[in-house]
Every structure is written in structure tokens, then in C-alpha cells.
């Protein structure tokens, strides 16, 4: 099993003494779909930021594709995010005034893909998430579920090694949230590696691997069939 990402004894302390992550170790392997679950304030977002190199740990190492990212320059980290990672956020973060295709194509801008190819790949990604009929729509013309699908298309358009989703259903009603979750499981079935953060135990229950966080520590890590991961 190929390691995509590994955290080793990661601690993150915020100024003022809050220890949002406390000695956390976690390995994600290729093709996994895992849920990171825990109550609000338990450190899930901090964990996702560190997994996504948007933030660096106070102590410990983070490896992505075998490389220790805590030693990389900001420039190399940016390139790595653009090439290997995809992000989905609770608030979608679509850019107002730009079409669905343009929003998705931005996911390829910083990876150095030529403009024309960006458009074509963005259209394909939107078709993949079931929005082939919404290509030219602006964010305010889309429903919440459609916005999140656009955001997911943007996250997958560069075929990342790992997709990180922070409460992707948090801003959606249950039915829409379910369909977004189905989209993610579908992408996983096609081979994507995905980590989903949620405070919702029901959603976590539908994922093959569940990592439970509490007070900045991993308190349990269960894979399908009840076998805890090492």
C-alpha cells in the first residue's frame, strides 16, 4: 500500500498556548476514503490545514509523497498544493462573478496548464460531477449543492493525490449533503484518495475508515469491518 500522506507526532500550538493538535500520528494510503470526526473545537480543521500544508506543525513531521514538507519553502509548498492536493471547503469559496468553468479552471492555473487545456479539463470535471449543463452559470445562479459540486470539480480537476474536504456537507441540507457525499464516494470508487472532515457521526459512519479526534488527539481509528488501523 502506497503512502500518500503521513503525520508523525504532530503538535500544533497556537499563540496563547492553545494546543489544537497534540502528538498526532496518521497515515493515509492511496485509494483510501477516510472520515475525520470529532466535536466542534476538537482540532479537525487544524489537522486538515496541516495535512494540506496550509499550516505547519509546531513539532513533528508531515510527509507527502514521501517528502518531508516541513522543510520546504513557501514556494515549493505552493507548487506541491497545486500539483498533489485538492481542497473542498464548507463555504465552497467560489469566486463571484466568474462562471462555473472559470472557477474550476482556476484549479489548474497555478499548475502551469495552458489556458485552452484548462477550459477543456474544467468542462470535463464539471461533467464528472454532474454539472455538464451548468458550465456558464455564475455562483449566484447555482444552488448550494451545485456550488459544492463545482468546488469538488475544482478539487479533482488536477487529478490530485489527495482530496481534503473540510465539512463539505456542513452548509447543506441533509438530502443535498447526502448527494454530495455520494459524489465523493463515487470519486473514491474511481480511485481517488479522500479525507473528509465532519462533526456528524452519521456521515462518518458511511465512510470506510473513521478517525476520531478529541481535544487535539486521535482517540480511535477504525477501518471497515471494525479492525482498528495501526
Amino acid at each position: 500500500m502506497t503512502e500518500v500522506l503521513a503525520l508523525e507526532r504532530v503538535t500544533r500550538e497556537y499563540p496563547g498556548g492553545v494546543r489544537a493538535l497534540d502528538d498526532v500520528s496518521l497515515v493515509v494510503t492511496r485509494g483510501e476514503l477516510l472520515g475525520i470526526v470529532g466535536p466542534s473545537g476538537s482540532g479537525k480543521s487544524t489537522l486538515l490545514n496541516i495535512m494540506g500544508t496550509l499550516d505547519l506543525p509546531s513539532r513533528g513531521t508531515v510527509r507527502i509523497g514521501g517528502e518531508d514538507v516541513t522543510r520546504l519553502s513557501d514556494r515549493r509548498l505552493s507548487d506541491l498544493r497545486g500539483a498533489r492536493l485538492g481542497f473542498v471547503f464548507q463555504q465552497f469559496h467560489l469566486t463571484e462573478g466568474t462562471t462555473a468553468v472559470e472557477n474550476v479552471a482556476t484549479g489548474l492555473l497555478y499548475a502551469g496548464v495552458p489556458r485552452r487545456r484548462r477550459r477543456r479539463l474544467a468542462e470535463q470535471a464539471l461533467e464528472r460531477v454532474g454539472l455538464g449543463h451548468r458550465l456558464r452559470h455564475l455562483p449566484h445562479q447555482l444552488s448550494g449543492g451545485e456550488k459544492q459540486r463545482v468546488a469538488i470539480a475544482r478539487a479533482v480537476v488536477n487529478e490530485p493525490d489527495l482530496i481534503l474536504a473540510d465539512e463539505p456537507t456542513g452548509a447543506l441540507d441533509t438530502a443535498t449533503g447526502d448527494s454530495v457525499l455520494n459524489l465523493l464516494t463515487g470519486l473514491h470508487a474511481d480511485g481517488a484518495t479522500i479525507a473528509v472532515i465532519t462533526h456528524d457521526a452519521d456521515i462518518a459512519a458511511r465512510l470506510p475508515r473513521r478517525v476520531t479526534v478529541r481535544d487535539g488527539r486521535i482517540v480511535s481509528d477504525h477501518a471497515e469491518g471494525g479492525t482498528p488501523c495501526a
Binding site: L54, D74, F87, H93, T95, E96, T98, T106
Partner: protein, 394 residues
């Protein structure tokens, strides 16, 4: 990864596209500044071109010789001075007028004391080519008519005496000079090199001597000489004209007065140009302010771009491109606006249009520079924003 220039430009326009009204307003300051620059340089340049064209047709090689006024009466020039000046080598043309100190009226029923305020001159028949003046209608004095009571009116004199034009086929209008009737043979066009002629009535040399008590002493000589020798001619004129009292003779160059007008316009222009520069600077502060607000509002967008792989440099470049685009749009609009104003103004005055290309270039270049400088601080702030903080912004 490097962004292509096209991508950078598109990124720069992206923020403006989604906030058009604000972009237009903040570009307006720069537009006004640049437009003012174009106008304050374009208008004098156009009027200067018109003046140059006029000087070219009038010639700048005319000298005006006149006696220095001491007390009431100027010391008249000697009668033989015309012939003396003609003998100076580089002199091409000499002509003369003499003030007859009498009055011209519409008719003898007008009281002598509320006369028109016009000067009555005796004029040589070769006056017009010497001063570069033209007739607006009718004819000038000839060897034949100079002996008879025939007058030619200056431009302004014509309208004061109620003779706007002399029409062929109609009887010649009449006026009263002194106590004698004169017929009007022609009306002059304005004479820029001899503006005192505009308010004068010109009669022949001989008729003046015979009928108006003229003693033959000219008051003003007009001398045309080869341009290259003009200063030499100017130097010898006083002694030639009045060998006894050369100090009583003054020589001026009428085209200098016209050229001086142009210099005044330029001095005035550079003052306003400085003010326009200040307007551009104020516009730049407006752009910087808009950009700071834009960065604050778009923290989430910045965070998102960082998550999508944008380096700090990419963020910096995006906001620099945006402020530059803003200023360049302002500069282009201002240049267009200013040029339009110059064209309209010049056409209104029937001047040739002249907008110095360095002004347009400096305006656009300056706007670009201003945009880059105004964008530096906001762009650096945007790039410094940590991605997590940016994404967590409300």
C-alpha cells in the same frame, strides 16, 4: 510555475470585471489628471502651431522703425529717410506711414469732437506687401489714386465708420477726413504685424501733402530685410534714418510680440501641467486605497488561491496587475478624453490640432508607473496573508 503574460493580464482584469462601478470611479481620478495634462499641453501646442503657421505667412523679417516719443510729440523722421534705408544692402522692402493728426468721420454731419477715435495715416502704395497685410475687400491705393481723395480703411476702422466692405459694382462709400470728402476704395483684413493699422484710415501720400497739410515726414517705417542680416540691419537703422539724432529712433520687430504670446502660453501651461501632475498623484492614492479595500474584501479568494497552489509571488502579481490595469484604463480614458477636448477646442478656433506625442506617451507611461507603485503596498499585504487566516476570514 510561471504564469503566462496573458494569464497575468486576465487576473488583473478579473477583479475589475466583478466590481465595475468601483473600478470606474477609482480610475476616474487618474483619468482626470491625464486628461488635464493632455489638454494643457495640447491646447497651447495647437495654438502655437496656428501661430507658427501665421508667422510663416506673415514673415518674421519685418522691422518697425519709429521715433522715440519725448513729451507730447514724437520727433518726426526725416523725409529722406525712406530713400536712405532703401540703400542698405540686405533691405528688400521699405514702406512708410505718417500720422496726419486729423480726424475721420462718417460724414461732415458728425461732430468733429465725437469722431471715431481713428488715426488718419498717409500711406505709401507699397505698404501692404511690406507689412504682410491683405485686403478684405476693394483695392489698395495705387500711384494713380494716391493723388486723389481716396482712402483705405483698417479692419476695425471699417466697422466704426460703417463700411464693412466695398462691393464691386456699387458706388464707393464716402467718409469725411478733416473737412474733405474721401471715397473708400478698400477695407483691410486684420494686420497682425501692424495692429495699429486696424484702427487707421490710410490715404495717399500726395493727397495728404496737397489737401491735409502733410509735411512729408514719415512716422513709422516698415523694413523687410533678409532674415540672416536682420540684426545687422537693425543695428544700422537708427543712424541711417536719423543721422543727426540716432538715439531718437526706436526699432522693434513685430513678430517678437506674437512669439512672446506663445511663450506666455507655455509658462502658464507648465504651471497647470504641474497641477495636473498633482491630480494624477491624488488619483494614484485613490487607486492604492481601492486596492487596499479590495485586498481586505478578498481575503477568502486569496486563501483559496493559495490552497490551489498560488505562490506568494502569484498573489502579489495578481494585485499589482489589477492596480496597473486600473491605472492604465484611467490613463487611456484620460488620454482619449483630453485628446477629444483638444480636437474640439482647436477646431473651434480653426487651429491645426497638435497633441505632442510625448504627452500621450508620458501620460500612459506615468499612469502605468503610478498603477504599479500604488499596487505595491496592497499586493505585498495580500501576499503576506497566511493561507489559513485568509480562508478563515468572514
Amino acid at each position: 510555475m510561471r504564469l503566462t503574460p496573458v494569464d497575468v493580464v486576465l487576473l488583473g482584469l478579473h477583479g475589475l470585471r466583478t466590481r465595475k462601478a468601483r473600478a470606474a470611479l477609482s480610475a476616474l481620478g487618474i483619468a482626470i489628471g491625464i486628461a488635464t495634462m493632455v489638454v494643457v499641453t495640447g491646447v497651447p501646442a495647437s495654438s502655437g502651431r496656428a501661430l507658427d503657421a501665421r508667422l510663416a505667412t506673415l514673415g518674421t523679417n519685418l522691422l518697425r522703425v519709429h521715433p522715440v516719443t519725448v513729451g507730447d510729440q514724437p520727433e518726426p523722421l526725416p523725409a529722406e529717410s525712406i530713400g536712405m534705408v532703401r540703400r542698405i544692402g540686405p533691405v528688400a522692402e521699405v514702406s512708410a506711414v505718417a500720422n496726419l493728426h486729423t480726424v475721420a468721420r462718417r460724414s461732415d454731419r458728425v461732430d468733429e469732437h465725437d469722431a471715431s477715435g481713428l488715426t488718419v495715416l498717409a500711406g505709401r502704395t507699397d505698404l501692404l506687401p511690406a507689412i504682410g497685410a491683405r485686403l478684405s475687400s476693394g483695392r489698395f491705393l495705387t500711384e494713380a489714386t494716391a493723388r486723389f481723395p481716396v482712402a483705405v480703411l483698417g479692419w476695425e476702422a471699417g466697422s466704426r465708420l460703417g463700411v464693412a466692405a466695398v462691393r464691386p459694382g456699387e458706388p464707393l462709400p464716402q467718409i469725411t477726413i478733416g473737412n474733405r470728402r474721401f471715397v473708400v476704395a478698400g477695407v483691410l483684413a486684420p494686420a497682425p504685424l501692424a495692429p495699429d493699422l486696424d484702427t487707421s484710415v490710410v490715404v495717399g501720400w500726395e493727397v495728404a501733402e496737397r489737401a491735409l497739410g502733410f509735411d512729408g515726414h514719415p512716422t513709422v517705417l516698415y523694413v523687410r530685410a533678409a532674415e540672416a542680416n536682420l540684426e545687422d540691419v537693425r543695428a544700422v537703422l537708427p543712424a541711417t534714418v536719423n543721422p543727426r539724432l540716432p538715439g531718437m529712433v526706436d526699432v522693434s520687430r513685430p513678430s517678437d510680440a506674437l512669439a512672446a504670446k506663445r511663450a506666455t502660453a507655455t509658462t502658464f501651461g507648465s504651471l497647470v501641467l504641474g497641477l495636473a501632475g498633482v491630480a494624477v498623484l491624488v488619483g494614484a492614492v485613490g487607486v492604492a486605497n481601492t486596492m487596499v479595500v479590495s485586498v481586505l474584501e478578498r481575503r477568502r479568494e486569496i486563501g483559496l488561491r493559495r490552497a490551489l497552489g498560488a505562490r506568494r509571488g502569484h498573489i502579489r502579481l495578481q494585485f499589482l496587475a489589477e492596480s496597473t490595469a486600473l491605472s492604465v484604463l484611467g490613463g487611456v480614458a484620460g488620454t482619449a478624453l483630453g485628446s477629444g477636448a483638444v480636437v474640439a477646442y482647436a477646431m473651434g478656433h480653426s487651429w491645426p490640432v497638435s497633441i505632442p506625442s510625448w504627452v500621450a506617451a508620458a501620460g500612459l507611461g506615468g499612469a502605468t508607473l503610478v498603477g504599479v507603485i500604488a499596487g505595491v503596498y496592497p499586493a505585498v499585504r495580500a501576499a503576506r496573508l497566511p493561507p489559513t487566516e485568509a480562508l478563515a476570514s468572514p
